[in-house]
């Protein structure tokens, strides 16, 4: 039995005057968390908006929960929770009003869970939307999205403007979603620490293109920084899969995206140290390499 993927994009492109999103293909399976990482302007928000049906692709196909987007977005969005960092509640209404509004629209609304979240996120139902800070808007939007227990959560920089405690609360709620293997999360973030921690798959975007997409442990396993000190007069041996190199006299730091024992064997005694790289380092190295090969 083939399980419906929660998000499926094939060859999606979208052109704007100063920016083009090109050839995006990605898959999100149920029970997965996909982290979306990229510099500002890379196209993360555009991709997310395409997934939500708010804009239509020029080329390519998009399916969310099996529904074609943007044609069937009304149906798909019944089971999708969407929060973006620049989202605001409707002015002239309170948090409580929004909760009642959501409860009347979504059959899956869990009033008890909503009440718990209100306390946990430090919000009050009587608060008017106008008096909320940016962080509180996001927390309110997340509350409204989480309390209806949607199958798919699509989050665009959801931890922006949150203090560390609120961020921790947020991540705990997200991970709680994953107790159900039928639910999944797509989230974009600048915070590579969070992405590294909770993502199963990671997709890197830069300048409108997908630079890499793979499961997280794969990335962390394949990338290494190798510190090398060459003896007098020796040259750096020919090595496969070196994507970055910094040299300072006899000292070289090599960055590889396909670490293997072969590389260590060729370098032999010249190797001083091998470091694993965290997601932020991998991301920066990946983007730099990508930009060099595609100026």
């Amino acid at each position: 039995m083939t399980v419906t993927k929660h998000i499926e994009m094939r060859g999606v492109s979208k052109a704007y005057r100063f920016f083009t999103l090109q050839d995006i293909s990605l898959d999100l399976e149920p029970g997965q968390v996909m982290g979306f990482v990229g510099p500002n302007g890379a196209g993360k928000s555009t991709t997310i908006r395409l997934a939500m049906g708010l804009i239509a692709p020029d080329i390519g196909e998009i399916r969310v929960l099996g529904c074609r987007m943007p044609e069937n977005q009304a149906f798909a969005k019944r089971d999708v929770g969407y929060v973006s960092a620049d989202m605001r509640l409707m002015p002239n209404a309170t948090v409580g009003w929004h909760m009642n509004f959501a409860a009347s629209i979504y059959p899956g609304w869990d009033a008890d869970y909503a009440a718990t979240l209100v306390k946990r996120f430090n919000l009050r139902p009587e608060q008017g939307a106008r008096s909320l800070s940016q962080g509180e808007h996001i927390k309110a939007a997340l509350l409204l999205a989480l309390a209806r227990r949607p199958r798919l959560l699509i989050l665009d920089e959801p931890t922006t403007g949150l203090d560390p405690v609120a961020r921790h609360e947020m991540l705990t709620e997200f991970m709680d979603v994953l107790r159900d293997e039928n639910r999944s999360i797509l989230f974009s973030s600048h915070n590579t620490v969070d992405v590294e921690r909770i993502s199963d798959r990671i997709t890197f975007l830069d300048r409108g293109r997908m630079v890499a997409s793979s499961d997280k442990e794969g990335f962390l396993d394949r990338w290494r920084r190798i510190d090398v000190q060459l003896p007098q007069g020796a040259a750096l041996p020919e090595l496969p899969h070196i994507v970055g190199r910094a040299s300072d006299g006899h000292f070289h730091t090599l960055t590889t995206d396909q670490f293997s024992e072969l590389q260590l064997a060729r370098l032999g005694n010249a190797v001083r140290n091998v470091h694993r790289m965290n997601l932020e380092e991998i991301f920066v190295a990946n983007v730099m390499h990508h930009r060099e090969s595609r100026p």
């Binding site: 009304a74 620049d86 509640l89």
Partner: protein
């Protein structure tokens, strides 16, 4: 019309409740003032006009443009609706909001014309034409606000349509076949009246239907 669309229409009324209430009361009050006749009539009439215009403008701006700016558009679009559903909800919601206030304003104006001794009943046809002009005017503003992708365009539409009010008063108000009966004791319903009314209604219908045909079909909403 889906459940969500209906709830969004109700939301439009809820969110603008102060405008609707305040506008209705102000319009009714200014018309009551006009009942005194003479200078009070001019002040009252002018206030009435300003209230109805301003109300329409505010609904256009706060109802459509600011939602885009205040970023609550994303929240609304995250609801299980299509772009067409959103346009319908906005159109009918804001229209309904305006209508409530407009009915109060028109009814009070008609009552004052008919009941106030100092105000000649002959004014009734002109007053009705003016009321329907304001309604058509609002529909044009709404149509423009829904189409426009920039605040500048909406502002432009508002300015142009409001200039139209003065134009209306100085042209239609000076039509001989209307003018000659305005200060009489009984209202005269002649062909000119019906012609102007029909034009107003046609403009109104076009302004309301147009977004349903064009903006609803858009595939990009942001």
């Amino acid at each position: 019309m889906s459940v969500v669309t209906r709830k969004l229409i109700a939301k439009e009324l809820y969110v603008n409740r102060w405008f609707i209430g305040g506008g209705s009361v102000t319009a009714a009050a200014s018309v009551a003032l006009a009942a005194a006749g003479g200078g009070a009539f001019n002040i009252g009439a002018l206030t009435w006009l300003t209230t109805v215009i301003a109300f329409g403008v505010m609904l256009g701006i706060y109802g459509v443009v600011n939602e885009r700016k205040e970023q609550s558009l994303q929240f609304v679009l995250s609801l299980p609706i299509s772009i067409a559903d959103y346009v319908r909800a906005k159109l009918f919601g804001l229209l309904l909001a305006f209508l409530i206030m407009w009915v109060a304003a028109t009814a009070s104006a008609v009552l004052v014309v008919l009941l106030a001794a100092k105000v000649p009943d002959g004014l009734l046809p002109y007053v009705l034409l003016l009321c329907f002009f304001m309604l058509a005017n609002f529909c044009v503003v709404l149509c423009g606000a829904l189409h426009a992708r920039s605040e500048a365009l909406v502002t432009g539409t508002i300015i142009v349509t409001n200039m139209g009010v003065s134009v209306f008063m100085f042209t239609v108000g000076l039509f001989p076949s209307l003018r000659e009966h305005m200060f009489g004791a009984t209202p005269v319903w002649n062909t000119t009246f019906f012609n102007v009314l029909i034009v107003e209604l046609i403009v109104l219908v076009i302004a309301v239907v147009l977004p349903l045909v064009t903006v609803s079909r858009r595939r990009d909403f942001l």
